[in-house]
Amino acid sequence: MATGLRNVAERAGDGAGQPILDVDNGEELMHVQSGVAIVLGNRPPKSPGTLYISNRQVVWLSDTDRAKGYAVDFYSVSLHAVSRDPESYPSPCIYAQIEASGNEEDELEDSDSENDDALTLSKVTEIRLVPSDPNQLDTLFHIFCECAELNPDPLEEEDSDNDWVFSGDVMAANAEDDDNPEWDVLQNRTHSIGANGNHDLVHSVVRLQINDQRFEDAEEMERNETNGRH
């Protein structure tokens, strides 16, 4: 699902313009921050620019060059944090790691820092977003968190070849079980991240419930199949 950092060469509107959003599929703008420089990997910062955060992606558009912009889906943002340590970067910024999509065997060399072709960009694994107003950092961090939570990985198709290994007693229990496990639809609860309580571990584990279809049994095995299948 992760696609890595990519170029944004087109914009909507006049002047400095805006990113083109997939409005028909529900993409909407969550936050706009002007006066933001972007740093790709170890390269020099690019500015001035404006940061657009939608519910799907982060877009940085240069204020001066309409052809220069970068975007990354939240699917590809592995982690993000506020960086205030002057030793790692002189200005306070949002630091983010990007799950790169490039091939491992290609050499990653920063031979030309202005070379923004798709191949080079897809290998960028670290970016920094440096607002001219550092007081905006906490807001940016929280919006990143919110939007990341809106973009979990979509559930994949269950493999027909589920290589679960059972012990002998579990196999016997399954053979007796006539019920077909129902495929519970994953509830669309929005558990926002917040401070959770510190409950007694033992009692909580005993009372655990699972309604996640990922933990459901594979299809019932044929009675004729041997126990050797695994």
Partner: protein, 100 residues
């Protein structure tokens, strides 16, 4: 949601999150959500070689700032031994795998 429930009960404890890119980050578990997105505080990098900027940044960040880690990039979450009842966890997971 076995692991979501399980991690909720580890909030406040020291954990080490190992990402699929081999980076390992140690910190206090601040919170977790149903997708196993993880927020850590007091974070510091365990393996400092691959991301030197990351390690410098994290080593100097004490107690104040959160780090948000996407659940899908987590490979392992290393737990404090005193926070784990292995037998109980075995039973719970075996029970759930059985569908019972």
């Amino acid at each position: 949601m076995l692991f979501f429930s399980y991690f909720k009960d580890l909030v406040g404890r020291e954990v080490t999150v190992e990402l699929k890119n081999d980076l390992a980050i140690r910190g206090t578990l601040h919170s977790v959500d149903q997708y196993l997105n993880i927020k850590l505080e007091n974070t510091r990098v365990v393996d400092q070689d691959k991301y030197p900027h990351m390690s410098n940044f994290l080593v100097c960040q004490l107690s104040v700032r959160n780090c948000f880690i996407r659940g899908s990039v987590v490979r392992y979450v290393q737990l404090p031994p005193e926070g784990v009842d292995v037998e109980l966890l075995h039973d719970a997971t075996r029970r759930e795998a059985r569908g019972g």
